[in-house]
């Protein structure tokens, strides 16, 4: 069964460093999403992406965040200058039009 994959499973970085989280959505999906879950808190929407542009974003998704689909398979989330409060689990999801979202297993980001 096709699935969304994410790498790395765990990323540790120093405050102020840039990180790139990678996702490979399901191959025929056209809608892509990033969510985050701070430990013990809700899963929060960050951004949605369709047709090579951001279609919707939340207040959390400020100028330090960016997304990109650099090729036909990857979908990345970049955090330019990480802060301690960026420590969270980051989930990627993808879907087809009108379909349900399929989530990846997540990347745990730890900012020291």
């Amino acid at each position: 069964e096709p699935e969304v994959t994410q790498t790395p499973s765990h990323q540790v970085t120093q405050m102020g460093q840039e990180v790139i989280l990678r996702c490979v959505p399901i191959s025929n999906h056209l809608y892509f999403y990033w969510y985050r879950q701070i430990l013990g808190q809700k899963v929060e929407f960050l951004v949605s992406f369709y047709n090579n542009e951001i279609s919707e974003k939340s207040e959390i998704f400020d100028d330090q965040f960016s997304v990109e689909r650099p090729d036909g398979s990857n979908f990345t989330l970049k955090i330019r200058s990480t802060k301690l409060e960026d420590s969270a689990m980051y989930f990627c999801a993808s879907k087809v039009a009108g379909g349900e979202q399929f989530f990846g297993p997540g990347t745990r980001l730890t900012v020291l």
């Binding site: 809700k42 899963v43 929407f45």
Partner: protein, 114 residues
């Protein structure tokens, strides 16, 4: 804006017992409602969803949920829990139509005793 409340942070049941996980939502119109399950190290898996029609929704793994508009609830049920059901369960709501990006509740952690 929509919101979701899952009042129980942890639920402990014995294997074979019945289960009900509570979910209340706040939304001005008829919402789309979802239940997701997250096993350790796994992503979120959709158990079931309600868009319209029959208010009792059947999902995967023997789960069902009932939409009660008068109570703004969408509780998840299973008649007999298996040890493999131990996981985190998330209720979510989205606006009907459009991109339906879900707003999630905090989750309920299900512990199953043998």
């Amino acid at each position: 804006a929509q919101s979701v409340t899952q009042p129980d942070i942890h639920i402990t049941v014995s294997e074979g017992a019945s289960l009900e996980l509570r979910c209340n939502y706040s939304y001005g119109a008829t919402p789309y409602l979802f239940w997701y399950v997250q096993s350790p190290g796994q992503g979120l898996q959709l158990l079931l969803k309600y868009f319209s029609g029959d208010t009792l929704v059947q999902g995967i793994k023997g789960f069902e949920a009932e939409f009660k508009r008068s109570q703004s609830s969408f509780n998840l049920r299973k008649p007999s829990v298996h040890w493999s059901d131990a996981a985190e369960y998330f209720c979510a709501v989205s606006r009907s139509g459009g991109s339906y990006i879900p707003t999630f509740g905090r989750g309920t952690s299900l512990i199953v005793h043998p």
